[in-house]
Amino acid sequence: MRDADFFRRWMAAAAASVEREADRLTELDSPIGDADHGSNLRRGFAAVAAALEAEPVSAAPGPVLQLAGRTLISTVGGASGPLYGTLLRRTGKALGASAEVSDAELRAALSEGVGAVAQLGGAVPGDKTMLDALEPGVAALGTSYRAAASAAENGALATVPMRARKGRASYLGERSVGHQDPGATSSALLLAALADVAESADAR
């Protein structure tokens, strides 16, 4: 079972990973986006870490993710804010108020979260968006957290030959081909952080 502390550690690990990779995310966002993905997410996840520290009372996983999602929507300033915010908020809502959730419940909740992202952005797999990492990643959660992280990473790599059909990159048409999607890359970081935290929790 996973408690609120597990989800706090996930968000902290995600914040640390985004901080570490911010320059790479921004580099990926330079040829096909507006070169702010890394700095936007760094600001957003730093705010998430601060918000969770300032409000250490929520003893349930759901509210932790909902607070993180709300914070991202308020602070990111770019499209990844409402998208990741909706992912976490909807996942948190699906987890409800239980003090502990099973891996199966987390899997089902994340699927709902990914569904909400797809609905919000109107994207489908193959559009060269974060969904290209999130969908295979969450689908592989049934195997293991590490498998989910690998599937998301492969999903991000698979965006390289795609032509963008959503967002700013879609205006570039063929010129968007040959670049890895920054949103899919940050989605893979998020699932890698989850796998790290799950493995360290299970090793104890």
């Binding site: 702010d36 936007n40 929507i73 308020s74 300033g77 770019g78 499209a79 990844s80 804010g81 409402p82 998208l83 915010g85 909706t86 908020r89 909400a116 919000l120 952005g121 967002g167 700013r168």
Partner: protein, 130 residues
């Protein structure tokens, strides 16, 4: 009256379009219009806080019509609507930003209900320029 919120990546775009719409609606009472452009720190982008504050500012109880320009402007308004964080009766209009804003503010200023404001703004899409 229905209130109108203009959400743009750029504070100057949102304010300029608000000013244009207000001037074209002048001649009688003008519906409340608020601009929610740029990030909270003055950069290009979208601020959820600014959008929520603008919607509350123009809410007179008859509904709030929101128009958005690009990417995160649209997505942030939709995310806020999904979570019921905007005043009751808030709606994102599917309309071109400038033309839709003028149509919405002129229509709202006649005292028309939200559905009529929405229809007027959406109709701006049907006017072809070539």
């Amino acid at each position: 009256m229905v209130g109108v919120v203009l959400v743009s990546h750029s504070a100057r775009v949102a304010e300029a379009v608000a000013e244009l719409a207000r001037e074209l609606a002048a001649g009688g009472p003008v519906a409340p219009v608020a601009a929610a452009g740029g990030t909270a720190v003055g950069g290009l982008g979208t601020s959820a806080e600014r959008i929520v504050a603008a919607a509350r500012e123009v809410d007179r109880g008859a509904g709030v019509a929101l128009l958005a320009d690009l990417g995160s402007s649209v997505l942030t308004v939709k995310a806020l609507l999904m979570e019921d964080e905007l005043p009751q009766g808030s709606r994102l209009l599917d309309a071109p930003f400038v033309e839709g804003a003028v149509a919405a503010v002129v229509t709202a200023s006649t005292g028309a209900p939200l559905a009529a404001v929405e229809a007027a703004a959406a109709e701006a899409y049907t006017y072809r320029k070539t």
